[in-house]
Symmetry: C3
Subunit: 138 residues, 3 copies
Amino acid sequence: MKSYRKELVINYPKRRGFVNITKDVILALKESNIKEGMLLCNAMHITSSVFINDDESGLHKDFDIWLEKLAPEKPYSMYNHNGYEDNADAHLKRTIMGREVIVAITNGSLDFGPWEQIFYGEFDGLRNKRILIKIIGE
Amino acid sequence: MKSYRKELVINYPKRRGFVNITKDVILALKESNIKEGMLLCNAMHITSSVFINDDESGLHKDFDIWLEKLAPEKPYSMYNHNGYEDNADAHLKRTIMGREVIVAITNGSLDFGPWEQIFYGEFDGLRNKRILIKIIGE
Amino acid sequence: MKSYRKELVINYPKRRGFVNITKDVILALKESNIKEGMLLCNAMHITSSVFINDDESGLHKDFDIWLEKLAPEKPYSMYNHNGYEDNADAHLKRTIMGREVIVAITNGSLDFGPWEQIFYGEFDGLRNKRILIKIIGE
């Protein structure tokens, strides 16, 4: 069994947003030289997500509006966590969107359906955040 | 390390619904002849889910009502994505229910608790959709 | 490829709550003697979760309030599932929080960011519930 590990770093210039990291993940897979196996990609921070969906800007706007409805940023005082922090909403938003994805590796490629793309979801940005890629296989 | 890959195809006859795919996944596991490892099962489409829960029709009705409350199908005009599509709600519903499950393989079986069953969740049906099963192990 | 399997049992003294199981998972990893690979940790029950977030009591209170808003326990009569049961809300809450986590194993350790901790989320407690840990690698 072979394994490969890589970190990505993203400093998103706003509190919230989505970044397509599919190309970075494909690059890591090429570097690993693993042809058959599984790839884990996860946010290393608990106010960020890694998820798979469509690369369509209208949909991303819908995600943002929807998450803000399900877990509003403000008023900060509505959250117990915000005695010390102002990012309780980011923990909740990340929970909806998920921490990680697992992708099958087949013939040296991400084994994806036609529209699957990997995104980093930032919910408490303006600082360096890390993403882990771990690949195991042969 | 051995690996095995299989696709399932589902053409669900309505926009939304749930299909128990546990038997299909068990069949793929038998075909793989893998006894110890991990099994990934994921929707290859971004308006569908694979998830684990109870095979109880009342609960499935509750899921449907609940998802429609959290991410209503209509009015279509409330979603930015729906300039080109009418399925923004399906992307959101699939996000709640999840894209994938990972199941431990032990002694050649799905290592499940007493009520765990694997379901395909369709949120934009009436056409062929694919599910990926990937198994790695020994 | 090596594999290791362990079950944890939790009998949570209330209907709902969160338990930090990170130390138990680290112990299982030590016992496995696996240095590189992936670790799956999942609830074996469909009214419980395993998830990764922050070990902060204010945040846990926020999670509880938020889940009760998104999927209220009562009135029981609002759920179809509750003809036989009174725990439909627990199935929905577990869906939001997730069934499982996958953690990269690197150099014999959980490959975590600074604040990542693994929690068991109970939504229908007062009885024995099981958690599965499965590790594969070398």
